[in-house]
């Protein structure tokens, strides 16, 4: 009797081990299926960013414009059929992540940024003739507050602060006697404290002994609107803004 039970248990064990093995094999096989094999028919020596860098995206969502890079040869002419791979930090996805350049030597991918707000450093790699060529591309993901700031900026501020005009929006920058700074100008804006930014936004230029061409917004925008604008200004600063708050050092 005992031996019967024992042999049954052994059999069940074997079956179980078999099932686990199968599941395991199936599980391991999945990523292998996903990786597609691309056969490059050419290779270049240089990689340039054509468009789609330095976009302001939103955490966890696809960037508005695709990222386009171009593979060139020594003469600077485009190389079709070269392999390009895109890489990014955790949470970033590319669709597709690897591809061959099209007839104009370009590789185009849709980028979805991760769920953390901040600067994302992406890279594009092409195997190259002798050694791999890599370029870095920077994208920016705005969090909720920063995005509210960007919307407010678009409505209230960018007409003066952004020197670029678009089809729908003519910039007022050139009409101003005293020129404001674009919010990306970190060299200047990073030096202003949050308190100073709050003061000039709420009470206008004169609050900091500056031109009244900068209007006061304290009665138009709420305090949280102003905080949102500041978080946006800090987010787009280039060079990046280092928080002047508590600095944590290792003991």
């Amino acid at each position: 009797m005992i031996t019967r039970i024992r042999s049954m248990m052994v059999r069940a064990g074997i079956v179980l081990v078999g099932v686990f093995a199968l599941v395991g094999v199936a599980g391991c096989k999945r990523p292998a299926q996903q990786a597609t094999t691309l056969k490059a028919s050419a290779a270049g020596t240089a990689l340039v960013e054509s468009s789609g860098g330095h976009q302001l995206g939103v955490t966890g969502t696809a960037l508005k414009d695709p990222l386009v890079v171009q593979v060139n040869d020594d003469q600077g002419t485009a190389v079709p059929g070269a392999l390009v791979e895109f890489h990014g930090p955790f949470g970033v996805t590319f669709d597709p992540a690897a591809m061959l350049t099209d007839t104009s030597g370009q590789a185009t991918t849709a980028v979805t940024l991760g769920t953390i707000a901040g600067r994302y450093q992406l890279s594009a790699v092409t195997p190259g003739k002798s050694k791999a060529v890599t370029i870095e591309i920077v994208e920016m993901a705005l969090g909720y507050q920063q995005r509210v700031g960007s919307i407010l900026n678009e409505k209230h501020c960018s007409r003066c602060h952004d020197p670029e005009s678009s089809a729908e929006r003519v910039s007022n920058f050139n009409n101003l006697e005293v020129k404001p700074h674009a919010f990306a100008e970190g060299d200047t804006l990073n030096k202003m404290s949050d308190a100073d930014l709050t003061a000039i936004i709420q009470h206008g230029g004169p609050a900091l002994n500056r031109s009244a061409l900068m209007p006061p917004y304290g009665s138009t925008l709420s305090a949280s609107d102003v905080r949102a604008l500041i978080s946006y200004i800090r987010a787009v600063a280039d060079p990046p803004y280092q928080s002047a708050g508590t600095v944590y050092a290792r003991k």
């Binding site: 939103v58 969502t61 696809a62 909720y144 919307i151 007409r159 007022n172 031109s211 138009t220 978080s231």
Partner: protein, 685 residues
């Protein structure tokens, strides 16, 4: 048998043979059982996270404060009226720690700044997932019946939409999705009821097809039905993927059921009398600001123009010339509720525009469509198809009833249980992935699915998905106090003859009045308090642009003098703001001193020239309206009230509220009223 029994009985003897032994064994078992709970705790996943958190903060400068705030054990946010039992903060220990802004390691990151306190709303309301769970697998990834995995970050705005039925500035994706639900006609087939019981109403304007034969040919209908986007890339009409025979029969029924409209042919007579001025076409199209509403594809393939009316890139392929002429002469004859104004074009202008628009055609479009005269069986089949596909849910069609509840109600689609969904092989098992797939490729779920193929970009599909995910059961059981009502368009209708004129000119297509209308042009609710009589008369006769940088502009209507007067008097009498007090600025003819003081304030204290032009020689401000003749345009009382608080008169205006003293506002108003412009009125800018 025998050995087992012997073995068992000896074991029994050994353990429970006498009272002392039995007591010892039972105590030992009891002790073990008591130890199970603490041991389980000790090895629980959340406990490991709490230990990791402690070691993370251990080395930090602010370790003492952080450690003091740290509470071991399971944390729980319990909000009975919201149905929230969230234990997420058991592992997500840094969510509320302002100091942890530099930590990017999950699960300890600080929550990004949002307008709500985390303790007041918990986590799952926005993020989904299983609040009471205490393991990552259960909390984030459960696919069990009645449970849902955590929501991908790109749909997070759906959380806001559960309470906020109105458009929030911080939720562009949700706003876009909601606008699309009404603009793409989704709610014409699918009913959506908001938690407060109001229905979401469509805002598109699908044309009536009862006189379609006046407007176009059967061949065009056929090509259109086969692929609407091939005719106009920007159209919201979906593709039903019809077979050739189905398109043939549908077009046969539409043509045969169409009844003629008298005005559409009557005009051919007037048209015959006047000839087109070919050279004037483009400028007339430009002056009439047709492009404010209608888009045309340019040579580079980009759409240029507004999306209020249909795209006109290939209008010559579609519209019969006599219909087009009649339409331009008075669109309300063909469609009484159209958004298109009755421009009161002269016969020659009608002929000019008709010829200009007819030339917008593509000689390749619709070639190769040859349809034989239909036989009765085909017409009958066409009618059956119309009923089956629900065409009449959007379009008025002779002989076919508008179907009720044609497609499933979507009022609680955001809580659809996973068990009720048939997922395609290889699809991620989650509600968002189902909704987005269904929106993008409805027919992938079976050839018999009636839902047509919409031409949507990935961000548009995500926006729609976000809006649909906000339609949850929770949004309905939420306490009323948390609910922010939708801003619903009023059905304001101006009275009398002037009201009829306002409808004919389709003012509401661009302007908002008393909560009804478009947002392309200024809100006119208080226009009567704002402008002067003579200016308004001149402006209606020949609108000039107030804002130098505007691209969309007020078109010119050929109003008769009596129409002009009627409209002016109505606006001045009816659109009066109680907040604008004509007595607040007693004397419009101020002393030169006051005017001079106002000028000082304008240029130095308030630096208004940064946005406005008061003197076109010196000022360059390009944001607000030009003020060179504002003294002939606006009333002193309006200027004064406006300066005191612009947002009170026009919510959302970008003119900053400068918190001006009464005295400053009066002096500035006096200065502005002194700016009468060159010439009497309507001098050029």
């Amino acid at each position: 048998m025998h050995p087992i029994r012997r073995y068992l009985s000896s074991a029994w003897q050994a353990l429970f043979g006498d009272a002392v032994r039995a007591f010892g064994v039972v105590s030992a078992v009891l002790l073990l059982a008591l130890a199970i709970a603490p041991a389980k705790n000790q090895f629980a996943q959340w406990h490991q996270y709490q230990r990791r958190y402690l070691s993370l903060i251990h080395d930090r400068g602010d370790a003492v404060t952080l450690r003091r705030r740290f509470q071991p054990g399971i944390h729980q946010t319990w909000l009975p009226e919201l149905g929230v039992v969230d234990r997420c903060t058991t592992c997500h220990l840094g969510l509320n720690e302002a100091g942890l802004g530099d930590v990017s390691q999950q699960p300890f990151r600080k929550h990004p700044a949002i307008p709500h306190s985390l303790d007041g709303f918990g986590c799952v309301i926005c993020h989904g997932g299983q609040g009471p769970a205490t393991t990552v697998a259960e909390a984030h990834h459960s696919e069990r019946a009645g449970e849902e995995p955590i929501l991908p970050a790109r749909y997070i705005e759906s959380g806001c939409g559960q309470c906020h039925q109105n458009a929030l500035p911080g939720t562009p994706q949700l706003n876009l999705g909601r606008a699309m639900l009404t603009r793409y006609g989704c709610v014409r087939c699918h009913a959506i009821t908001r938690p407060d019981g109001t229905r979401v109403m469509a805002t598109d304007h699908p044309p009536s097809l009862v006189h379609i034969a006046d407007k176009t040919t059967r061949e065009w209908i056929y090509s259109w039905l086969k692929d609407p986007q091939a005719y106009a890339e920007s159209t919201t009409m979906p593709n039903y993927k019809l077979s050739d025979a189905d398109a043939r029969d549908l077009s046969a029924y539409l043509m045969s059921s169409s009844t003629p409209r008298e005005g559409d042919t009557a005009l051919a007579a007037t048209k015959a009398g006047s000839s087109a001025d070919l050279a004037a076409g483009p400028s007339l199209y430009g002056q009439s600001f047709c492009a404010s509403c209608h888009a045309v594809q340019n040579a580079a393939g980009n759409l240029v123009g507004g999306d209020v009316g249909p795209e006109l890139t290939r209008i010559g392929n579609k519209a019969k010339p006599e219909w087009l002429a009649a339409w331009l002469a008075n669109p309300r004859v063909y469609d009484a509720t159209t958004l298109m104004p009755h421009y009161r074009f002269t016969a020659q202008q009608v002929a000019t525009l008709t010829t200009f628009l007819q030339a917008k055609s593509d000689s390749d479009y619709g070639t190769g469509v040859h349809l034989d005269a239909p036989i009765p069986a085909q017409v009958a089949h066409g009618k059956r198809l119309i009923v089956e596909l629900g065409c009449a849910a959007c379009h008025e069609i002779n002989g076919v009833q508008k179907p009720e509840n044609f497609a499933p109600d979507l009022s609680t689609i955001g809580s659809k249980p996973l068990a009720q969904i048939v997922f395609l092989p290889g699809m991620e098992v989650s509600l968002p992935s189902y909704i987005v797939a269904k929106i993008r490729q409805p027919r992938a779920f079976g050839a018999s699915v009636k839902m047509p193929q919409f031409a949507l970009t990935a961000p548009q599909a995500d926006a729609l998905t976000t809006a649909l995910l906000s339609l949850t059961n929770r949004s309905r059981s939420m306490p009323d106090t948390l609910r922010v009502a939708a801003t619903v368009e009023t059905n304001y209708q101006p009275a009398g003859h002037a009201g009829k004129l306002i409808n004919e000119l389709a003012c509401f297509s661009c302007h908002r009045i008393n909560g009804r209308g478009g947002d392309m042009a200024p809100d006119l609710t208080w226009e009567g308090s704002s402008v002067q009589r003579q200016w308004l008369i001149d402006f209606l006769r020949n609108p000039n642009t107030l804002r130098p940088s505007l691209i969309r502009r007020m078109p010119r209507f050929n109003l008769s003098d009596s129409e002009n007067k009627e409209l002016t008097e109505y606006i001045l009498a009816v659109y009066q703001s109680p907040a604008v007090d004509a007595d607040a600025v007693p004397d419009p003819s101020h002393s030169p001193d006051v005017v001079e003081h106002g000028k000082q304030l304008f240029y130095s204290k308030y630096a208004c020239q940064s946005c406005h032009i008061a003197n076109d020689k010196t000022d360059k401000g390009y944001i607000g309206p030009t003020l060179t003749q504002v003294g002939s345009r606006l009333t002193a009382a309006w200027i004064y009230s406006w300066l005191k608080n612009p947002q009170a008169l026009r919510p959302g205006t970008t003119e900053p509220n400068q918190n001006m003293s009464d005295e400053d506002a009066r002096a500035l108003a006096a200065f502005l009223m002194s700016l009468k412009g060159q010439g009497a009125h309507g001098a050029k800018l």
